[in-house]
């Protein structure tokens, strides 16, 4: 009764895609009926489009400015959102700054989602000593408030985009691992997993076909709820001088360098923060909408 790995994988893929159709259809149907989530989703998509298409949006150079054009107010012709303390166009810097802020905010959650899910599903499915080791290490990381952990790792590694990505990823692996472990352990005890085991499927196939399909969505919803925190943290690291280095535009860093300008033009100084705030608000509301849309079964 041996089946080659490829056949097994083919079967697995077919099963997962074939089975998820009904579920995701239902989730999107519910999501479409949620006006707040839809509005936030649209805003996030627009923002993503803007930062991805930034080089083609006919914006001014975000890095070089003119000293005689410093701190022009919002509405200045040619500088719709004014200029910053070095005379650089704010609109352009906000769009380009969004690139790094979103990248630094979203990528760590994505990485942590991949790593944390792998660790947590492994710990939850295999159990025993592996579970104990993984979960006790996770406990240790829970002894740090997330921002302290981010600052500790970033502070030790030094400033830089990669270091910031690394430290934020490490910050979010433990909570995602913990959630993944607990959902996996509860799915593991369900009888359909037993039924799959006695059908002769190997552990990898059982996990791929029967466990992952049922644990990924709760883990994913949890991960989306972390994106807003991650973005605030990423900008916060840059604000402390630990993330992106000048003159590269990034919202947190802009907020920091513009602090001196609050006495001259408070509106300009507040703009990068407004962007962080609005984006994080949208991410939170979208995640809430997703959470209630995915609760298909209750």
């Amino acid at each position: 009764m041996s089946v080659t790995a490829e056949t097994t994988m083919e079967i697995a893929r077919e099963e997962v895609s074939g089975s998820s159709r009904g579920y995701w259809h239902e989730v999107f149907r519910r999501l479409r009926r949620d006006p707040v989530a839809m509005a936030c989703g649209t805003l996030i998509l627009l923002l993503l489009a803007a930062v991805i298409l930034a080089p083609w949006l006919a914006l001014q150079d975000p890095v070089t400015g003119s000293m005689i054009q410093r701190l022009k107010p919002v509405g200045t012709p040619g500088h719709l959102l004014g200029t910053d303390e070095l005379g650089r166009d704010m609109l352009s810097r906000l769009v380009y700054g969004g690139r790094l802020t979103l990248l630094l905010g979203l990528l760590p959650v994505l990485f942590a989602f991949a790593i944390g899910t792998a660790l947590g599903v492994f710990a939850g499915y295999v159990g025993g000593i592996f579970n104990t080791v993984i979960m006790r290490v996770v406990d240790i990381f829970f002894a740090f408030p997330s921002i302290l952990l981010a600052i500790a790792i970033s502070g030790a590694l030094g400033a830089g985009i990669v270091n910031s990505l690394v430290s934020l990823t490490i910050v979010f692996i433990p909570p995602i691992t913990r959630v993944a472990e607990s959902v996996t352990a509860s799915v593991r005890s369900l009888e359909y997993v037993d039924a799959a085991r006695i059908s002769g499927a190997g552990p990898l196939t059982v996990v791929r076909v029967h466990v992952l399909g049922n644990v990924l969505s709760p883990i994913f919803v949890y991960a989306t709820s972390l994106t807003s925190v991650s973005m605030i943290l990423a900008a916060g690291l840059s604000f402390l001088g630990l993330g992106v280095r000048p003159p590269e535009p990034e919202w947190g860093l802009m907020l920091n360098t513009l602090r001196t300008a609050i006495y001259i033009d408070p509106l300009i100084a507040a703009l990068p923060g407004v962007m962080i705030f609005l984006t994080s608000l949208c991410l939170n509301l979208l995640s809430d909408g997703l959470r209630s849309a995915m609760n298909v079964k209750d």
Partner: protein
């Protein structure tokens, strides 16, 4: 690559002949360690199944009864290889699990239907995919597996054109249990363990599913191990009945023989608790009071002595061996009263049921 690619799944062949029992369970033990203390060091263990021996003959239905927590379900999980055997042997058609038989080979011959019809179906799979999954894992081509799945759906009474694409939450409990039966059948097993498989169903649905099970048994030449706490159901479907108490077998025998004479006081009490349809057939034995003792520290001697009406000193000190009831070798019970040399004052008495009346 297997030569079965593209063919239907065949039932594993009968190897030992009709005389060889399909299953021999020999002194099976399963303890669950209690994790307590700081470093998870064991502090005792739940003796879920302790020294349980029995056979399942080819083509019969063995019913297992007992209160919840008596080890019925653990026994089922041991039989199907879902729980690890701490000690003892499981011999399937002459092959010992772990020696000449792998788990994968065991699963080719034994399948299980679980109590919770909802939890035993993957909520993200259509029922056709669920039924076809196992055969595909064993090398049956997808097309054949799905065709067979639809045939089986029809066989268990669910029109494939209406049900094949549905998800578990779109079915009723009885329909889901039919799917679970079809899923087990799809593996072409010789033995199906039914662990409280009809207990959660409405009475009318339960009867339909029981009839279906009886039909399928004849059609596919199956052997059943049927676990339930409902004696009426067990009586209806079983050829033999095994009674368990606190992880041990206290009595085993053919249905008629056991119905005529409940040799073990626990069996008698269990039957007494059963609601009778016939007012003339009232039992005089008082039903059991209280909960079973803690299986972490089971009582010494006969485990039932703490709740037994006939308990004497010997019951607390010596474990009774299984003895034939009324000289009938097929009907065995483990009670000192049955052993004339045990020292029990009632030893050798004509029988408990009558002794009381």
């Amino acid at each position: 690559m297997t030569d079965q690619q593209g063919t239907d799944l065949n039932a594993s062949p009968d190897r030992g002949g009709p005389a060889q029992p399909l299953v021999i369970a020999r002194a099976l033990k399963r303890y669950f360690p209690i994790r307590k203390g700081l470093f998870g060091r064991g502090k005792g263990a739940v003796q879920a199944v302790d020294d349980v021996s029995f056979t399942v003959r080819k083509g019969e239905t063995l019913g297992i009864v007992g209160e919840s927590g008596c080890g019925k379900s653990t026994t089922a999980r041991l039989l199907v290889g879902l729980a690890d055997i701490d000690s003892g042997d499981l011999i399937f058609d002459g092959d010992k699990l772990g020696a000449t038989l792998t788990h994968r080979e065991l699963w080719a011959g034994v399948q299980m239907v679980f109590q919770d019809s909802y939890a035993s179906l993957n909520p993200r799979m259509t029922i056709e995919d669920t039924i076809a999954f196992g055969p595909k894992m064993r090398g049956v081509a997808a097309k054949q597996a799905h065709a067979a799945a639809r045939d089986l759906l029809a066989r268990v009474g669910l029109a494939p054109e209406r049900f094949a694409g549905r998800y578990p939450h779109e079915l009723s409990g009885g329909q889901r249990q039919r799917v679970n039966i079809a899923r087990a059948l799809a593996m072409r097993p010789r033995l199906i363990i039914l662990d409280e498989a009809v207990s959660a169903l409405d009475k009318s649905v339960e009867a339909q599913v029981l009839n279906l099970l009886a039909d399928l048994k004849a059609e596919f030449g199956l052997t059943y191990v049927f676990i339930s706490h409902d004696l009426n159901v067990v009586r209806f479907i079983s050829d033999r009945i095994m009674v368990m108490y606190l992880g041990e077998v206290v009595e085993i025998g053919p249905v008629e023989s056991l119905w005529k004479k409940r040799a073990h006081p626990y069996t008698a009490a269990l039957f007494a608790a059963m609601p009778s349809m016939d007012p003339d057939n009232r039992t005089e034995v008082p039903p059991l009071a209280g909960d079973p003792p803690n299986p972490i520290n089971p009582p010494s001697g006969c485990r039932f002595h703490t709740r037994c009406r006939f308990a004497e000193e010997v019951c607390a000190t010596m474990k009774p061996a299984a003895r034939p009831v009324d000289g009938e070798a097929a009907h065995m019970a483990a009670c000192h009263v049955l052993d004339p040399r045990s020292g029990h004052t009632m030893a050798g008495a004509p029988g408990l049921e009558t002794a009381d009346a």
